[in-house]
Symmetry: C2
């Protein structure tokens, strides 16, 4: 006889850093009632997804079971947790629950995608509860690098689950609530924790994490010592950092000017929702023009080298009336996310050419991470005493190391990457099923599947170039005129400097001349032969095999 | 009256890490006799140069003055110093001078490009001299991460120049000569150093560099403690590291199997030229199959995550009969060059999925850099006491910082990036001229200019997709049949799920219908209008503006 079970199914975020989407379910196998935690994005790059705007988890499995979806919960407002909401919600259509600041950002995502704002419900933190089928969910405030991050305490008939969301142990996070052991002791006392699904991002960082508040001193010193204009960039959503920077600026007799849409938006939402508290007065770029450089601080977006953001724009020359010059200081109050190194270094070198002094995080003086390091994870393991641990939010190496740490501490753990459904009903996590998962691309205004082949075609054209051949035949299958070849992204000249397209046209014309009726009647056959000849000739002449598109036009009598 | 002058002109390697090519000249302005130091490559990436095989400096300036080129010198056999030789030599045709091991690699480069091997001359180290017009050049052995790296002592009528090449201060480099203060004191005593052109790569590393020999102990310990198969990857040209690893393997009762063409080649050239000395016996992959895992070490290429190299292949599954599994250890005895992080992490995660233990350089235990850190650079400044310093081999931020360090030490210095010609005749470096420089791509088998637009077309297709439109007109400029649209790398469906190409064809057909004689007679006008319509419709339907190729065929009466 089948028994009710508690399941966990990551559809994004497990086996990668980004696009978080975790499903929990409870009920008879195949009939579980479901909740979804987070709907995040990943950012594409030229290597994997050129031209793509956003990457999102493929939630097909959940969409096919949307009638069983009780609710969506958003732990916090980072893009990798809420960024896909507007795009994915239409196929899910469940109520979205989040705390005040996060809900405000979630509504902006819904608004941008033309979805109903009232689908997003603002929830108070514990002891407030959300009932969602067999689940009762509480938001427990945690410290992270954005205001109002929350863990979810998820009560089910099979026991209590704690889904950590992203967090660090910070007793003085400057903005928002600290990590509070007492609260967690209460949670555990109320009901023991069966499962801890836990952030794994920093499991390889062996020293205890440092508090956001430790940055105030060094930043104030740096900013007040700067001889001319001071520019600082950090993650736009790190409202606490923005506050620390701005307050240090004011203490150093500087006025603050914020540049960059995402940063301004985060600040204004943080102010509107009351999470920010006080923040120094800021001026517009126009007003800032009038202020002596020595009395100015620009707070700008683009700490990851994003080409369209303010930092990159300033490094290229005049931007919003400002031009950096010798004597200015540019602080990266951030770390470089792997993959962004070249973009960041491009900015550094541009700034170096301008004679600007560049300051990076200097080994932690001017930046701290938002994720719990290994000793802090171990502290949380001991604090929550879960029956089992499910590592999440990390690449395979992070999950696997986190599982190892848990096992060493005597806690059963299992690595489950995207698509691995765990049954958490028993004493330790068991693999219940493997689900097909994948990625969806937002490409312009349409959603396409990562495996649809569309982006693969683009990558192939980028690597190999593209040759187009047009052939026209009359109604008797007789070629009319010569074939025509256009080359895109290929050397126009081949061996001996002869135009490559002309060489191809000559070869194709000669072949058409020789080709029999049988070939000329058969579009597929002609296309295949032409493609092969073009690729072979290109290989001989320029050492590359291009993508080939053949257009065969057959004129019919009117 | 014009006076003879000593000039320095970087055509590659200054303002970037890679494709080193430095020109020195002596004589009347515009009539200087010239030498070229190094002819290196840079490796392309998907962001900047998709599909390109190699990036080389554009030596047009030098090619136009090849009659004044006395000789080419290669400091050492790294790809960024010798990799472009075979491709660039045909337009220079001067004798190439290098020490034995480097010359052997240089000849391989010439051979691959079908150039004459006897253009490469093997030179003994100092006191041997090469006379090249007004220049007398000596090779002074230095320690680096490849055997036989050499600085050039270049005597000119205007004084002595030391061109450092790449180096570190290593008193026990395992393979090759140590850095020897005594030799340099002799050089300085013989004739004071007017100019030091100096490696800047590690100027931001503030601690003294460590010797290659310090790795032997930790590596031996790690390798002997490994419970099953041990795989190590490092830079294939780091022959000293290969030797340390192989000897540690033998001490741990392991047999060594080398995988990867470039590594095998470096080892065999090092053996043939006698620079390697002893090296443990190696076995082929077939022979290695027969050896118990506990007694085996694989030495493999691909420390930078190169997708075709052995490390990546092993991380993907079976390779040359080997499949990694739980209990195996995989060591990255290397650091990740910025830009390669994602490729390396991909391998790590694959290995993590296989249950393989991954060991990285662990903060220096298992890898040391081949470049001089800041304290070592300062040591060399004091040792050589040059009248002036020209920082080279680095991005702008490196050059600029190195110049700052020199100036602080009382040495005049100037930052000269590619194309900045310095006059070194006086007391301090003066900018003499700015030369147009650039990059050449090896694309398949042809050389193309980075600014030719060919690769830009490929990037555009990758970002925007490609739409092809064919229109056929009869001899009276009357459209025959309907226009035909093919899409590559674009969503096949637009708004409402309608096929995008059909929407375009319908719109274009309607437009052709309406278009007057004047338009239909004018190919340029038609092409422009069609392109604009296709881009606009695509923008409306899928939110992207594709690249568009329009082929207009006009049938003429036979």
């Amino acid at each position: 006889m089948k028994r009710e079970r508690l399941i966990y199914l990551p559809l994004g975020g497990a086996g990668e850093v980004g696009m978080n989407a975790y499903v929990y379910g409870y009920g008879l196998p195949g009939k579980e009632r479901l909740i979804l935690v987070d709907t995040g994005v990943t950012f594409p790059d030229m290597d994997g997804a050129p031209g793509v705007d956003l990457i999102m988890p493929d939630l097909s499995w959940l969409e096919a079971r949307a009638d069983r979806l009780e609710a969506i919960f958003i732990t916090h407002a980072h893009e990798d947790h809420v960024g896909a909401l507007g795009h994915l919600w239409p196929k899910l259509r469940a109520k979205v629950h989040a705390r005040k600041f996060t809900a405000a950002i979630a509504r902006l995502k819904m608004e941008e995608a033309g979805q109903p704002l009232d689908a997003v419900v603002t929830v108070d933190p514990r002891p407030a509860r959300v009932e969602a089928g067999p689940f009762t969910v509480q938001f427990v405030p945690l410290s992270h690098s954005i205001p109002e991050s929350a863990a979810l305490v998820i009560d089910t008939p099979a026991g209590r689950v704690v889904h950590s969301g992203d967090f660090k142990i910070d007793l003085d996070p400057v903005v928002g609530e600290p990590f509070d052991d007492a609260v967690w002791r209460e949670v555990v006392k109320e009901r023991p924790v069966k499962v801890l699904a836990c952030d794994s991002t920093n499991v390889f960082s062996l020293h205890p994490g440092r508090s956001e508040s430790t940055l105030a001193g060094p930043l104030a010193e740096l900013i007040s010592a700067a001889p001319s204009m001071f520019v600082a960039t950090t993650f736009g959503s790190n409202v606490a950092r923005l506050k620390t920077l701005a307050e240090a600026a004011v203490a150093a007799d500087r006025t603050v000017c914020v540049m960059g849409r995402s940063m301004k938006r985060m600040l204004s939402v943080a102010q509107e929702t009351g999470v920010l508290g006080s923040f120094p007065r800021t001026v517009t770029p126009e007003e800032a023009q009038e202020i002596p450089r020595r009395n100015l601080m620009l707070l700008v977006t683009g700490s990851q080298g994003e080409r369209r953001a303010a930092a990159a724009a300033l490094s290229r020359g005049k931007y919003l009336g400002f031009e950096l010059r010798e004597g200015d200081t540019f602080l990266f109050s951030s770390r470089v996310i792997p993959g962004n190194e070249k973009d960041v270094l491009r900015i550094w070198n541009n700034l170096s050419e301008m004679g600007v002094r560049i300051v990076d995080d200097a080994g932690g003086l001017y930046h701290v991470s938002g994720h719990a390091n290994r000793p802090d994870l171990e502290h949380v393991h001991r604090l929550l005493l879960p029956d089992m641990l499910v590592p999440m939010h990390g690449e395979h190496r992070h999950l696997s190391e986190h599982a190892r740490v848990a096992l060493e501490g005597g806690i059963p753990a299992a690595v489950a990457t995207n698509g691995t459904m765990l049954d958490l009903t028993g004493e330790s996590p068991e693999v219940a099923e493997r689900i097909e998962t994948g990625r969806i691309y937002l490409d312009g205004s349409v959603l396409i599947g990562a495996l649809d082949g569309i982006v693969r075609e683009r990558i192939r054209m980028a690597l190999n170039g593209h040759a187009l051949v047009t052939v026209i035949l009359d109604e008797d299958d007789v070629p009319m005129g010569e074939p025509w070849v256009e080359l895109m992204g290929l050397s126009p000249t081949g061996l001996g400097g002869r135009p490559l397209n002309e060489s191809m046209e000559a070869d194709l014309a000669a072949w058409l001349e020789r080709a029999g009726r049988k070939v000329l009647k058969n579009d597929d056959r002609m296309e295949e032969d032409i493609r092969r000849m073009v690729r072979q000739l290109a290989m001989e002449e320029i050492g590359k095999k291009p993508e080939v598109t053949v257009v065969i036009s057959r004129l019919v009598a009117e």
